[in-house]
Every structure is written in structure tokens, then in C-alpha cells.
Symmetry: C2
Subunit: 365 residues, 2 copies
């Protein structure tokens, strides 16, 4: 196995590459945060230092996304999977229904979890037959009369698809799992009742989830909700109902600062589009590689591609690894390759990958 003395270009889908500048800053103060004589990991979550870290991170996230005051911004533990349970429990009551657009495994799991508690949840789109290569156009006309909300996965990490244009509804609140794309492009938060994202793509370490929700659209429900899934309780306590994943919140805060220093989401979106275009162009113009996702649905975060001759897959991955291009293996059920190029992946990383792919095509294929 290769033994690198410097950092590689890490194309993992998540947990994923974090900005090297952020990691260096965290490393520098790992044992002693700002002269306190202790790590952020060792601080009381009720103390002034951590409260400042938490407050600043929420402030910066609100700034990055222009989040209106009526939206709560809450850190939850447990990843998107916890929200798959929390959302129906907070938004539905007995007999209620919601509309799910099944654009991949994560939407299917979210719907299955909701169905365990509320058997009436509905499917308004199922991409299974297309291998999840297509996404629906969701408008008010798509929404069932009884739907208490419409649920989407805005970017599908496994298949490399995304809604280029996100739905805008008036008939029902829109709830979006944005785990693999939040903070990668501009966003109109007011088009959503709930936006949530597991941190391990563009935000920070795994085990942390950001939930942004319209407090005015949260219904009163009469059944019990487990405390750590209760939106009202968690928001009222400013993410401090219990001891939150403090170190992960600190890293997230460093990432937000890094984004703001680099021009915020407008600039990120430009860079992400440039990186994705470079890679998709290289694939499309090659006779060895191909991208299975139709152009209108292509993700800028997860670029899925294949080789015409799958016998070369192993060799490609081996050589890529040896050249400091890590994590390119496709999702277990998908095969082929996936280059996840989140905010932290520099343009140089994508350029290096493209060069490697061209060289491989010329000499090995």
C-alpha cells in the first residue's frame, strides 16, 4: 500500500476531504485552543468558549445561506438517518400522508422509515426502473391533495444526479435532504420548510447534522417524540438540549469561515461548476470513459463514470491510488467510478484526475 508523506486528492463520497487550511488550523490548536490549555474536544459545552464557537457557527451559516429569522438552525446528532425518523414524527399525525420522490436509495430509506410510523405515505415519483438515472420535475400539479409535505433528496450521492432546478411549491411544504450538496451552490432557503444535511460531505465530520426549518410551518403534534428528534425542543435549547457533538460543530464552524473567506456560495458554485465541467468534458470527449447520467441531471458534487471495458477497472483504481487519487471506486451496487468533488476538492485535484485519466486511456487501454 502506498505511503504518502503529503495529503492526497481524496475523492471519497463521505466522510470526505475537508479543506486542508481548516485541518491545519484545527491541528495547530488541537491540544490547546486559544490559550485555554485544552482542546475544544475537552471543553464544557456550557462554557463561554464553546458557546462562542457554537454561536459564531450558526451566525456564519445563516450568513452563507441568507437564512431568514423565522427559520431555526439546529445541530442534531446521528446523520440524515435520524432525520428520516424525525421528520415524519414532527410533521405527521395518525392517518396523515406525505409525498416522496424516490430518486435513489436515500429517498427510499427515508420513505420506508416514514411508512413504519405512517403507512399512508405516498410515492409521487419512482426512478427505480431507470436505475435512478432520471429525476422528476415536481410542481404543484405533482402534489397529492392530502400530502402534508413533499420530500426530496436534492443530490443523489450514489448515482451522481441532482435537481439542476430545485422545485418551488405552494401547495405543500417542501422538505429536502441536501446532505451531499448543501453549501455547494446558492439556495433560496424560503422555498423549503426543512433542509437538512449530514455534515460529512461539505460541512465537517460525520455524526453531525444541520437542520434548517421554518418554525412557523412546524405543526403541533399530539404523540410523543423522542427528545433528540424533537424540533421544537432542540431549537428552543439552541442545540444544547444535551451535550452535542462539540468538536464536530467546531470543525463545521471553521469550514463556514473558510467558505466566507473565499466569497461564499456564489463563488463556490462557480468553482464547483468549473470543476464538474472539466471532468464531465473529459469523460464525454473520451472513447474509453462514459458518464451514465443524462446531462440535465448531472451532479456537480458526485461525478459517476464508467469504462467501456470493465476488465480495466481494478488497474485504474490501483494506479489512481498509487498516484495520490484516492476514493474513486463507485458505490458498491453501482460499480465503475465516482469522483466526489465537494467544496474542499481544489481545481488542481480535478485537473490531476483528468490528466491521469487521459494518460491511462493512452497507455493502458
Amino acid at each position: 500500500m502506498a505511503n504518502f508523506t503529503t495529503r492526497v486528492y481524496n475523492f471519497n463520497a463521505g466522510p470526505a476531504m475537508l479543506p486542508t487550511e481548516v485541518m491545519e488550523k484545527a491541528q495547530g490548536e488541537f491540544l490547546n485552543y486559544q490559550g485555554t490549555g485544552m482542546s475544544v474536544m475537552e471543553m464544557s459545552h456550557r462554557g463561554k468558549h464553546f458557546q462562542d464557537i457554537l454561536d459564531k457557527s450558526v451566525h456564519d451559516l445563516r450568513k452563507l445561506l441568507s437564512i431568514p429569522d423565522r427559520y431555526g438552525v439546529v445541530y442534531f446528532p446521528g446523520g440524515a438517518t435520524l432525520q428520516f425518523s424525525a421528520i415524519p414524527l414532527n410533521y405527521l399525525g395518525e392517518g396523515d400522508s406525505a409525498d416522496f420522490a424516490l430518486t435513489g436509495v436515500w429517498a427510499v430509506k427515508a420513505r420506508e422509515e416514514a411508512k413504519k410510523f405512517y403507512p399512508n405515505v405516498n410515492i409521487i415519483f419512482d426512478g427505480k426502473d431507470s436505475g435512478y438515472m432520471n429525476l422528476p420535475t415536481i410542481t404543484d400539479a405533482s402534489v397529492s391533495d392530502k400530502a402534508k409535505y413533499v420530500y426530496i433528496t436534492s443530490n443523489n450521492t450514489i448515482y451522481g444526479t441532482r435537481y439542476s432546478t430545485l422545485p418551488k411549491l405552494t401547495k405543500a411544504p417542501l422538505i429536502a435532504d441536501m446532505t451531499s450538496e448543501l453549501l455547494s451552490r446558492k439556495l433560496n432557503v424560503e422555498d423549503f420548510s426543512v433542509i437538512f444535511a449530514g455534515a460529512q460531505k461539505n460541512i465537517g465530520p460525520s455524526g453531525l447534522t444541520v437542520v434548517i426549518f421554518d418554525k412557523e410551518k412546524l405543526p403541533q403534534v399530539s404523540h410523543p417524540i423522542p427528545n433528540l428528534m424533537n424540533y421544537i425542543l432542540m431549537e428552543k435549547n439552541g442545540s444544547l438540549y444535551n451535550t452535542p457533538p462539540t468538536y464536530s460543530i467546531y470543525i463545521a464552524g471553521l469550514v463556514y469561515s473558510w467558505l466566507l473567506e473565499r466569497g461564499g456560495l456564489e463563488e463556490m458554485e462557480k468553482q464547483n461548476e468549473k470543476k464538474a465541467a472539466l471532468l464531465y468534458d473529459a469523460i464525454d470527449s473520451s472513447s474509453l470513459y462514459n458518464a451514465p447520467v443524462p446531462k440535465p441531471f448531472r451532479s456537480t458534487m458526485n461525478v459517476v463514470f464508467r469504462m467501456k471495458d470493465t476488465k480495466l477497472d481494478e488497474k485504474f483504481l490501483e494506479l489512481a491510488e498509487a498516484n495520490g487519487l484516492a476514493g474513486l471506486k463507485g458505490y458498491r451496487d453501482m460499480g465503475g467510478f465516482r469522483a466526489s468533488i465537494y467544496n474542499a476538492m481544489p481545481l488542481a485535484g480535478v485537473e490531476t484526475l483528468v490528466s491521469f485519466m487521459k494518460e491511462f486511456e493512452k497507455t493502458k487501454a
Copy 2:
């Protein structure tokens, strides 16, 4: 505010001091874990490197606690609070009851959460009137006939109390929140059906919980359980049903190695008893300080003490802070002081605190 160039003695109750050796090791490989060119924080949870970290950590924890094979060892997100919901949901059905020993805020919260779902849960001890300064002796005779389990908090962080001798029951399964003492003393795991502990005291960063449970005593329930609370599902998937808090598991693993290198729990127990005795003796032999907890119930992890003249409290804390003794303020509702002396607190830290207390008594009181 003081500006320390070295690490202080950190007496925070949790998140708490971690072993400096562990922190230095983690810092050294923060940007590049074992030549992989990436941080553990940036690695796929499905990759070989993280799987090795996870497997080794579970192996070492089993070794430290001599955990029998029939017990599952699972990492959950969310802290003890998530288990307050998960335990009744996994162990009770409609109409069922369980017995709770209320020895402090955390037991009360666990019982309130259980009661939300199962109104029949029972109280077999309530320490409220004693200010939670007393603990019960729980035997089979204490257990209600209908109790599906008996629930205790083995060490009460806030009040500085613990069961010196843990209960041993045959009439009903025993479930224990050991958040603030797991790994601090020897333990017979087989006396419990479930042991759980939030990591942020003796294990690692906050946002991670270790659950050890007897798979043979887990009942089949017919109601839906949120996936991230489902003991069977989480165990079957080896803590990888979803993306777990990978970095926190890595730190926990480093802590287990550190404990094994130092002789395991037998040695830890000796050292912890020595540290606690030193501090309690200093308090008991002083005419300024006093410890409110009766001797049989005194915790070796959280040493609660007060001054006869509370007007000096502020000054004591200020001077202690300035002398590199951090986190000594008592819990918000308790006032006074609390020195949390988990495994990571070296004897030298307690000695320094005792010297400081004596000096303060001599010169300021």
C-alpha cells in the same frame, strides 16, 4: 483571561480532559493517518482503514471489560439522551412497566422520557428529598413484580454520588447508565442487561455513545422503533447501519489502547481510588472545605465540595483558573465546586489541586 502555553489540569465534568498522550498521537496524524494522505475524519466508513479502527476499538473494549460474546457492543450517536428514548422503545411494549431508581437529574430525565411512551413506568427510589445525597440498596426485594427491567444511573455526575457496590439482581434485567464512570473501575458486565455510556467522560469526544447489551435478553417488540434507536439493527450492522461518528470512534480506540497499555481497569481503579482519597482526605481534614456526600456514596470520578463561606467561591475559582486548574465550578443548580477526576486526570493534577486548596485556605480564608 489567562493565556496558557501548555495544557492545564482540566476538571470539567464532560466533555472532559482526554489523555495528553492520546491527544498528541491524534494531533500527529491529524492530516495524514498512517501514510494514507488523509485524516481519519476524511475516510470512508466503508473502507479498510476505518473498518480496522472500528474492529480494533470493539476488540479492545471487549478485552478491557471482559465482555462475553453474547453481548453486543455498539456505537450509537447522540449521547445518553438518545438511550433514554431507545431503551424503553427496545425493551417495553404497550402497558409494560419498568422500575427506575431516581438518584439525580439524569435518572429523572430517563424516566420522564420512558413515561412519555409507557405511562406505567415505576419509581422504586426517589432521592429528591435528600438533594440526591443518598443512594438506595437495590435487591430483588426492591423490584416490582411487573418490572421488565430495573434502571439505574451508576454514577451521578452532578451530585458526586455512586453505587460503591452495584446491584446484582435475578428478578429483572438491570440496565445502567454508566456515562460518568464506565472504564474507571472493574465491572462484572454479566450483572447487567444493558450498560451504556456517553463518551465524553472517560471514552472520547461528545456525540458518541457505547452500548453493551445482552442479545439474549433483548425482547421482540411489535411497534416500530426509529432505525438509529434499534438495538437489533444497529448490532447486526456492526455500528455501520449509517455513517457513524467515525472520528470519535477513532479517539475512543486510542483511549482504549492507552488504558490497556497502563494495565487496564484494575490498575485504573487503583489510581482512581488513590486520586479520590487524596482529594476527599484534604477536604475532610480542612476547616474551610466540606464534602456534602456521605462517605458510602462518594464518587471517585466527580468530587463535589463546598466552602463554609460561599463569599469566597468567586475568588477560589478565579485563582484556580489562573493557576491552571480549570473547570472546578459546581453544576449550575448545585453551586460550590466539583472536581471531575476521570482516568485522564493524572495524580499530579489532583496533587496540584490539593496544594492549591491548602494554600488558599491558609492565605485567603
